[in-house]
């Protein structure tokens, strides 16, 4: 496996870094502070095509690789983790299940508008009593003539309210357990589909996280995604891909915190010299850099396998587990290096530390990732 950057990726990184630095970074502190969804940034991202990177051109996407998509989420998250997760949830959780499981008609109808960013995507699996134990779905879908009737609640849904297309999971036959779960495509403004209150979160505070409420929500029969009863498999496969997105986000947060720490320790003087001149600083930062590079290689490797059509489920779990724990370690140490200043909102590292925590929780907690990795070993 060769993960050296090719010319196309080099040009892509040049563009995305410049975009992140000039358009995303200046708003990062404000959208965190105000807890506001960065609509203007979304508009700018639409223009350059950041919402359909790995989607084939025939479905209105950019025809890029998962590697490029991962790089984009990393570079956006390096300066603003909120912006990174908007793209990640839309691409990996909103569009991928339609691309991978949709009928030709569904793909032709939904993907072009999603890949252009006109319709953002979201994913509704988690319920109040079905988190890590995702099989405990209470939401139901009952076929009534030519329509499915959905009832139930989904919680902690990223992009909720701003997204137009929701991939939602519901029980179509409770007696079958996980084999009774099916996937559906629900559009915003469908009667019977409303949103609950916005969650007030510790980090990624600019991203919209809300509850989806279905009360006798009727959707066309044709909006079943994949075969009836295949919902659980679709959800798990979608999350495999999503984990590469979140690992990329975590990697970006870690790199961003490391960048800030190197800059700060060069400037900050104590006992007559820069913090960076102390060997303790150098050794600790060397350790962090090594961890970040290791995380990057795991992310690149998982993306490479996905692009190559190889199995990547355990790889996605490993890169997400390691990158998330790396983000937590690097940001915690970054705050420590910044001392009292690091604890204030004058410096970005406290935000990065708050943002990092979610990467150990969503799209499968670190414990779930260990289950997936061990599951492959003890099959």
């Amino acid at each position: 496996m060769d993960f050296s950057i090719n010319k196309k990726e080099e040009l892509f990184l040049q563009m995305i870094r410049s975009f992140a630095e000039n358009e995303v970074k200046p708003l990062a502190a404000e959208i965190d502070d105000q807890e506001c969804f960065p609509i203007e940034t979304v508009e700018k991202m639409k223009k350059i095509g950041l919402f359909g990177i790995p989607i084939p051109k025939e479905y209105g996407g950019q025809g890029g690789t998962n590697q490029m998509y991962s790089m984009a989420v990393e570079e956006l998250s390096r300066v603003c983790a909120t912006t990174g997760v908007i793209v990640s949830a839309h691409t990996s959780l909103g569009m991928s299940p339609i691309l991978e499981n949709g009928t030709e008609e569904q793909k032709q109808y939904y993907l072009p508008k999603m890949a252009s960013g006109e319709w953002l995507g979201a994913f509704g699996l988690t319920e109040p009593n079905a988190g890590t134990d995702a099989a405990m779905q209470q939401t139901t879908a009952v076929l009534d003539g030519d329509e499915w009737v959905l009832n139930g609640n989904k919680i902690f849904i990223t992009n909720a309210g701003y997204a137009h297309v929701y991939v939602v999971f519901a029980m179509t036959d409770k007696s079958l357990g996980t084999k009774g779960i099916s996937a559906f495509i629900v559009e915003k403004d469908t009667p019977g589909f409303t949103f609950g209150k916005k969650e007030l979160k510790m980090g990624i505070r600019g991203s919209a996280t809300r509850e989806l409420i279905f009360e006798n929500c009727r959707i066309p029969k044709a909006n079943l995604l994949g075969k009836e009863g295949k919902g659980f498999a679709i959800a798990m496969k979608t999350l495999d891909g999503g984990r590469i997105g979140i690992a990329s986000q975590a990697l970006g947060i870690a790199q961003g915190a490391l960048d800030e720490t190197i800059k700060y320790t060069k400037e900050r003087k104590q006992f007559g010299r820069a913090l960076a001149a102390f060997q303790n600083t150098q050794f600790q930062i060397a350790n962090l850099e090594t961890r970040v590079q290791a995380a990057r290689l795991l992310v690149r490797s998982a993306s490479y396998k996905k692009d190559s059509g190889l199995p990547y489920s355990a790889d996605a779990a490993m890169c997400k587990l390691f990158a998330a724990e790396t983000a937590m370690e690097v940001t915690t140490k970054a705050v420590q290096f910044h001392g009292g200043y690091g604890y204030t909102r004058e410096y970005p590292v406290e935000r990065m530390m708050r943002d990092a925590k979610i990467t150990e929780i969503y799209e499968g907690t670190s414990e779930v990732q260990r289950m997936v990795i061990a599951g492959k070993l003890f099959k």
Partner: protein, 260 residues
């Protein structure tokens, strides 16, 4: 409407240093970028493409690796890219450079030619005007705004030291543009993905008719006598005072120096 934009790959001079002994630029490890003024000119061309369906060609003279700026231009949306590369072009001063570019431009259809005002590595601001002279075109330099009437007339804002001039000119003509004139667009993701599938036309000094004695080092009358780093000025004085006191301090300083 056909537009040719002349661009140059330059070292990012915000990161460059001069070797104090040799007096030359230290280029190792310095990233190469599209010259900022040229990018401003390219943005105007692409806006004319967006609004009037103009066809945009970029041309650059440089070593084979200058291909990178042409790929960047493709990713921003240009239609055609030409790389003038040949050992015969090497070591050119502004005159030899403009001789080569003008000779090449005679083989390309254009209504207008756009160049940057100047390149950040040489800062001469001579190549654009020289091309216009070689081709006998009217030229407007230091352009910060362009309005096209949709036929052949441009109303152009030209920056001057103490203000600006509004000028009217008909195509064919040449403009030299400032980077501050606009905010150049980002490359698009789709543009980047396609950029490497497109053909960069590589032209040598044999591709088009040109007097080779006027090219490269041999065609360059300029001789560099010495390059050196300017000495640094003494640190200024900082005052944190209110505006009235500030005015008093400034007036006194100016009187001390017999400026007023």
């Amino acid at each position: 409407m056909k537009i040719v934009v002349c661009i140059k790959q330059v070292p990012d001079t915000t990161e460059i240093k001069i070797d104090p002994v040799a007096g030359t630029l230290i280029r190792t490890g310095v990233p190469s970028i599209m010259n900022p003024d040229d990018k401003g000119g390219l943005e105007f061309a692409l806006q004319l493409k967006d609004n009037y369906n103009a066809q945009v060609t970029v041309i650059t003279m440089g070593p084979p690796q200058a291909d990178a700026v042409l790929r960047e231009a493709f990713a921003m949306g240009v239609d055609r890219a030409i790389l003038l590369t040949d050992r015969v072009f090497a070591g050119a001063d502004t005159l030899a450079t403009s001789n080569a570019l003008a000779a090449a431009l005679k083989n390309i259809d254009y209504d207008i030619i756009i160049t940057g005002r100047q390149a950040i590595d040489g800062d001469t601001a001579q190549v654009g005007p020289q091309i216009a002279e070689h081709l006998g075109l009217p030229q407007i330099s230091y352009v910060t705004d362009l309005k096209f009437d949709g036929e052949k007339n441009f109303t152009v804002k030209k920056e001057t030291e103490d203000g600006y001039q509004l000028l009217s000119v008909d195509a064919p003509c040449l403009f030299t543009v400032l980077a501050s004139a606009n905010k150049a667009r980002y490359m698009s993701v789709a543009g980047i993905i396609d950029a490497f599938d497109k053909e960069v036309e590589v032209w040598s000094a044999d591709t088009f008719p040109v007097d080779k004695s006027k090219l490269g080092l041999n065609g360059s009358p300029t001789r560099v006598k010495k390059s050196f780093t300017k000495g640094t000025k003494a640190a200024g004085q900082m005052y944190e005072v209110d505006s009235e006191q500030a005015v008093e301090i400034i007036i006194n300083k100016l009187k001390e120096k017999f400026i007023i």
